[in-house]
């Protein structure tokens, strides 16, 4: 007997391990740090995030913050990625450390998927309510059906306090205010406990008698009929009828308690309001572009023409959320994440104001460790080695204009 008991113990342990493994098989974890592993061309040629602002760097539990800004749906969207006809404005955080209290594109609430147009700029805002304390990397993010997640820039935000204090009050259309964090939980546990109890009662009705060996012997010797008695059948009937009665009664009681219910809401939102950037009066032609691997710098030769009536200077090159600035023209005042900001990363061979009507060819260098850190340099290994980004010009009265560039890139290894 002792040997058998040992074996049972050993077997139980193995089985427990298998159970654990099976249970651990799935956890919907979402690492917010996929940004660097995403192909460089995806980040450079799909959604360009700019004017981003994280309203806070530290938020107590239950307080809110916003991420706001604009994004340009790049006109030169890669062929290999599905067009953003069905897209969802998401937020890149590791699970629900914040709740998404609201999200808007062009002032329209977007709890559903939306259809975006290539070449357009949209204004967006996401309202987040702090839930779980910790340091979290908070990214803007756009999911595109057939294209996957397109992760925007991320910034570290600290949530302070205790998650046990988190509340999520919501007022229903039937007039009750509930805490969605725990709403209906007792009801879930209650009904699952009831049904588990009924199921276990049915199982124990059979398992309290000898099971496998004697029953197998009876079945194989042709005495199967003796194994189910008239009493068993009666108990079975009771369970089946009881089950149906409980299902019907609990359903009726539920309908009485919740007379107003609606189906889940779904559907695509179209015709999102676009944001009108001031008409660009500067035109830019990319003569050539090279990426110098040892210097971690991109060099481009641009022919810039000013068709406007005010002199302009190039102040910023923005690609994949990395911002290269010429401090003589523009400085960041939004506390943009350090690792994505090259405050003096942009050098222009001649950045004196370009007078109206004038055309000039300049050498522009965007250099920063971010090329390597954010693996943007990997685009030289892409099948279609192109770069793309946003150029921002400022005129004499401080007005900004946006010009996009999209051109082939030649790597240089020496």
């Amino acid at each position: 007997m002792k040997i058998i008991k040992d074996k049972v113990a050993k077997l139980s342990f193995v089985a427990l391990l298998i159970t654990m493994t099976a249970a651990m098989f799935y956890a919907p974890t979402a690492s917010a740090h996929g940004e660097k592993s995403q192909a460089a061309f995806m980040r450079m040629r799909t959604i360009h995030w700019f004017d981003l602002n994280w309203s806070k760097e530290e938020v107590p539990v239950n307080d809110t913050m916003t991420i706001s800004g604009k994004f340009l749906v790049f006109a030169g969207w890669p062929e290999t990625v599905d067009k953003p006809e069905v897209s969802f404005l998401n937020i890149g955080i590791p699970g629900p450390v914040f709740i998404r209290a609201g999200s808007w594109i062009g002032g329209q609430l977007v709890p559903r998927s939306v259809s975006l147009e290539l070449g357009e700029v949209y204004e967006f805002k996401v309202l987040l309510k702090a839930r779980r304390p910790g340091d979290w990397h908070v990214h803007s993010m756009m999911n595109v059906q057939g294209g996957g997640p397109i992760i925007g820039p991320g910034k570290w935000v600290t949530i302070t306090g205790s998650m046990s204090e988190f509340v999520n009050p919501v007022t229903t259309l039937t007039g009750q205010t509930i805490d969605l964090e725990t709403y209906g939980l007792d009801n879930v546990y209650f009904w699952h406990a009831v049904w588990f109890a009924i199921a276990i009662a049915w199982l124990m009705f059979w398992f309290k008698r000898p099971i496998f060996v004697p029953r197998h012997i009876a079945v194989s010797t042709g005495k199967a009929d003796t194994l189910i008695s008239a009493g068993d059948k009666k108990v079975g009937m009771l369970f089946a009828v009881g089950t149906m009665v409980i299902v019907a009664a609990s359903m009726g009681a539920t309908n009485e308690k919740y007379p107003v219910t609606t189906p889940l809401q779904a559907g695509l939102l179209r015709g999102m309001k676009t944001y009108q950037m001031p008409e660009a009066t500067v035109s830019v032609k990319v003569d050539d572009a090279t990426y110098r691997v040892p210097g971690r710098a991109m060099q481009m030769t641009l022919t810039i023409t000013n068709n406007g009536d005010s002199a302009v200077r190039l102040g910023e090159f923005n690609t994949a959320g990395v911002r290269f600035l010429d401090p003589a023209v523009h400085e960041d005042e939004t506390a943009y994440p350090d690792d994505l900001l090259a405050e003096e990363g942009l050098t222009v061979s001649d950045n004196s104001p370009l007078a109206p009507g004038e055309t000039r060819t300049v050498e522009v260098t965007a250099s920063d460790a971010a090329w390597e850190v954010y693996r943007l340099a990997d685009l030289i290994y892409d099948p279609d080695s192109r770069f793309a980004g946003l150029l921002f010009f400022w005129d004499e009265s401080g007005n900004r204009q946006l010009v996009t560039v999209d051109a082939p890139l030649i790597p240089s290894f020496i």
Binding site: K7, G95, R100, L109, M237, A240, T254, L264
Partner: protein, 249 residues
């Protein structure tokens, strides 16, 4: 039984060993079914079972019974035709739901912090009990498939409604009407589950208007009948002992 190598010395001891055997086999069966059924159900039913904002009147009602009648049918085939034990469906479903609860509680809540009222599993027990009783009373695979399979599909939605209904109460949120379940899906951010992959309230049953859930349940019941046959045969084949010596006779 040969006298030379008997493991037991008395009838009482034989009974005791047989009983120990019962629990060992039951435990092993339970854990094996838990693992296999759980993975099968996650791969086929997946998101429909994970999140309340997927538990709609059309697809969840249709998909969940169809993909979950599989293991109950197979385990019934083994336990009924070999042991005349009418518990195959209930054992399977209890194992599955226990595994799901462990997963939802430990991983979804404990590890990722999704509230439990957003990620609890569906209730499959009412259908399973009826499936077992029909097999016991009718002693027929065809009858169990037709009557039991249909009942399994039909009982699913009402069996879950007491838990789901409170989450289908509507709210007005920033000028949009949605259910509390929709709001859970919106509030509790899932980076990897964007809204557009949510397959709810889609299909060709629009003409039935408001009463779409019963129609979906009937459809699910009919398909469950077919799936039941299929998996019952799998179970029978799996429970064959041709490949080991028949030492019970």
């Amino acid at each position: 039984m040969s006298a030379s190598q008997s493991a037991v010395r008395s009838r009482a001891e034989a009974v005791q060993v047989s009983r120990t055997f019962d629990w060992m086999i039951l435990f092993t069966l339970f854990v094996t079914v838990l693992g296999g059924y759980h993975i099968h159900y996650m791969l086929t039913g997946g998101d429909w079972d994970f999140w309340t904002d997927w538990k709609d009147r059309r697809l969840w009602v249709t998909v969940a019974p169809i993909v979950s009648i599989t293991f109950p049918a197979a385990v019934q085939a083994c336990l009924w035709w070999r042991y005349k034990l009418p518990v195959g469906a209930t054992v399977s479903v209890v194992a599955l739901m226990l595994g799901e609860w462990i997963n939802r509680y430990m991983n979804f809540w404990g590890w990722t912090y999704f509230p439990v009222n957003f990620v609890f599993p569906s209730n499959l027990i009412p259908g399973a009990i009826v499936l077992d009783v029909v097999l016991m009373l009718g002693n027929s695979m065809t009858l169990t498939a037709v009557v039991g399979g249909l009942a399994y599909g039909l009982l699913f939605y009402p069996g879950n409604w007491p838990v789901i209904a409170p989450l289908h109460v509507p709210v007005e949120y920033n000028g949009m009407m949605m259910t509390l379940a929709d709001l859970q899906g919106y509030h509790y951010v899932r980076t990897g589950t964007p809204e557009y992959i949510r397959m709810v309230e889609k299909g060709t049953l629009r003409t039935f208007g408001k009463d779409v859930a019963p129609v979906s349940a009937f459809f699910s019941g009919f398909v469950s009948i077919i799936i039941y046959f299929l998996w019952h045969f799998f179970g029978r084949w799996f429970a064959k002992t041709d490949f080991i010596a028949d030492d019970a006779s």
